[in-house]
């Protein structure tokens, strides 16, 4: 049974210029239109909504910055903004020269969260780490993490260091999504069983909107450590091309003499990718297996109560 589908929010906040729009564009494969830049003008209020993980809506907000217009809007709309929040993701620019101000804005966001959505999970991303020298990165990140953890009490925050130019962004968001899925350990066990039954080399579970890897099973060591991100990028590019034709991507099969790979819709929030290295197994067999597994995994998702956004979609 489901109660009324309550949309819960994922707030993506941070100072303007900290990289939120780029981040959202990369993770969710949104085209960035930058026509306002030509007026030499400043920021507009970013209200764009993206849905993921079923019923979670991503809201992107500029926090503070040189626009005190934003501050006034904030204070008057505060309760609206911070109500029904499932996750707060706060982005810090590691190069920022106004650390006091950044922390101040972060704290006021935390206060609002405590008042309006005390159960929300808080994640802090220390972004643009590629601009820091390699040998100093760990040190700087550790310092920031300590400060943030201290400031966030009584809320617990998880910190990640990210940059769009290495794998840290993809990994950080994968971890975030992983923590948002309620029965993820159970999913992983079932996935392993499924993979062993159908004798697959590797099975991946992706989140539908972002193609972030939620969980995976592999039966032997794979060569390329970056393969998840590569596949994600390729499929997102393909989705972008499809959307130009108003078509939507559903499934894909890639086959040659060495392997067969199947990407298909799995549950209402996930995609599955199955890699079979034994090419003699006909596609039909694997597809039937995937179809049967689908029913099983959907039942898994439905078992948990209606508290979390993942379970709002009913057949």
């Amino acid at each position: 049974m489901s109660s009324t589908a309550m949309k819960k929010k994922v707030l993506l906040m941070g100072k303007s210029g900290s990289g939120k729009t780029s981040m959202r564009s990369i993770i969710f494969a949104n085209y960035i239109a930058r026509d306002t830049r030509r007026l030499g003008a400043t920021i507009d209020v970013e209200h764009s909504h993206v849905r993921f993980l079923g019923n979670l809506v991503l809201n992107l907000w500029d926090c503070g910055g040189q626009d005190t217009f934003m501050e006034n809007y904030f204070t008057s709309q505060r309760d609206n903004i911070f109500r029904n929040v499932e996750v707060l993701i706060y982005v810090f620019d590691v190069e920022s020269r106004e650390l006091e101000k950044d922390m101040h804005y972060y704290q006021s966001c935390l206060e609002a969260i405590l008042q309006n959505s005390p159960d929300a999970k808080v994640f802090c991303l220390v972004h643009k780490m590629d601009l820091v020298q390699e040998d100093q990165r760990d040190l700087i990140f550790k310092e920031r993490e300590e400060d943030l953890k201290r400031l966030s009490r009584p809320l617990a925050c998880t910190c990640f260091r990210t940059s769009i130019w290495d794998e840290t962004l993809y990994k950080a968001w994968s971890s975030i999504v992983y923590q948002l899925i309620p029965n993820v350990q159970q999913l992983e066990t079932n996935l392993r069983n499924f993979a062993q039954i159908i004798e697959a080399d590797e099975v991946l579970l992706f989140e539908r909107a972002t193609f972030l890897v939620i969980s995976h099973y592999q039966c032997k060591e794979q060569r390329d450590a970056h393969r998840f991100e590569k596949i994600s990028n390729i499929i997102k590019q393909f989705k972008l091309s499809c959307s130009k034709l108003a078509a939507s991507f559903q499934s894909m099969e890639v086959r040659n003499s060495n392997f067969a790979a199947f990407i298909d819709i799995f549950t209402s929030n996930t995609y599955v990718m199955v890699i079979m290295s034994d090419p003699s197994i006909p596609s039909a067999a694997t597809l039937i297996n995937i179809r049967n597994a689908r029913k099983h995994f959907e039942k898994l998702e439905r078992v948990d109560g209606p508290k979390h956004g993942l379970h709002m979609r009913m057949r």
């Binding site: 030509r38 400060d147 990028n233």
Partner: protein
Amino acid sequence: MEDDNRPLLSSEQTESHHLSFCLSPRPFHVEPRNIIGDDPQERVSAEAAILNSRVHYYGRLTGSSDRLLSPPNHVIPRPEEIYVYSPLGMAFKVKGSDDTSKNPSIVTMCICHMEHDDGHAGFTLGILIIVFLGLLMLYCCYVVLKSPKAIPYVDTSDWEFPDVCRYYFGKFGQWSSLVFSMVSLIGAMVVYWVLMSNFLYNTGQFIYNYAHNVNTSDLEYGTNGSEKVICPYPNIEPGGNGSITMSPLFISSVGNETLDSTSFGHWWSKTNTIPLYLIVLLLPLLCFRSASFFARFTFLGTISVIYLIVLVTIKSVRLGFHLEFHWFDTSTFFVPELRLLFPQLTGVLTLAFFIHNCIITLMKSNKNQENNVRDLSVAYLLVGLTYLYVGVLIFASFPSPPLLKDCIEPNFLDNYPSNDVMVFVARTFLLFQMITVYPLLGYLVRVQIMGQVFGNNYPSFFHILALNIVIVGAGVLMAKFYPNIGSIIRFSGATCGLALVFIFPALVHMISKKRQGTLSWPSAVFHSFLILLGLANLVAQFFV
């Protein structure tokens, strides 16, 4: 807590970080996609492969000229590690598009006005002045564009020309460049208001005449024949030989709106009521917080320009050429080729070619920065040619034996009768385009004034409302009491041109060259001469 003064980057990396925004994205690696064997040795490193995947993906997320997601220098592998190859064994380079789009709205406004001033300057002199002033302002624009790069030790990547003035001249430079920039923008907005009142009036008049089948051709003084051209405000020259005699009846009926006596004329008057109707429409639009909605309509400007060019071509083909060359003497119907009223043309042209206050921002989004000079020259060439084309054609085809060349109105569309369908369409286009550009100009004014005076762009709704009321009030007052767009354009053009085209760029150029120790005497003399020209331009406006 981290010490704020400690730089996060070493000095070499800082420099490469600056360079990152000048580089255009280039393909540094093409990964072989067909995996046919279990190669024990990787042909490319894992980092390069994944970076290639990212670059390909990020490239799909932004426009081709946007450098937001292109890889900065410190991220791309060293040149020795880069392989570029194609299946055919050839290397290839990706050329991006390098068009900059000039603001079409300013071009439209000034086209309407060009041929009027050709008459004031004399035909030949007019052409020469357009060419000469175009080149002069192109050079000054080039100086403005180069000025941030000549500043050492400072990151000027997001500076505009007022910031450069602040660097050289302190607070005085910043505030004065702001004030002069405002003069040009507010002058343009006032002219827009006058023009919009004019177009709205004529559109309504056309529709009324069409609906009530009113024929006003008898009341308008103009040519006979199929292609009618009228002279709305004929000039009586008492005591001149061969002057046109007209009864006072013509003056009173043509000078004001012809249907003054009817109630429609009373409620639909060009100077009395329409400027006020426009307030209802435009003041709310000015109060919008963001202008991105209106930025989508800039394509209307291009269409309007093209339509005007087509209109002018058709009209002059049908009317034929009426040109006689009298070099210094006056004849009744024609103007001498060289006249002493030419400063009017230079004043207008200073505003017509004026883009110096935002050229740096416009050029920043150019994909190939080394082509900036070429692109700027091409843009000025096209703009100059457009003005020349329209101005020359209208002036040459104006039917002079029955009418005086002096009759050409500042807004050349006024020279056609009010039941001319092509002109009606032109006016409607222009009206719509101006309604969408007006809030953009208001936004620019607001951002610059509020940003400088109050430190942020939207202090409160009442600040914005007060500013908008001032601007709109100026427009309404001008439309009511002094709707002579020619004068408004040339005074505001000469004023802001003096500061932002002639004085500041020349001084900045000379000072930066002096600091580098490369200022030569001819260069100093030439740039001082530029300053004098600017001053002379402004002073001359008061005497013609």
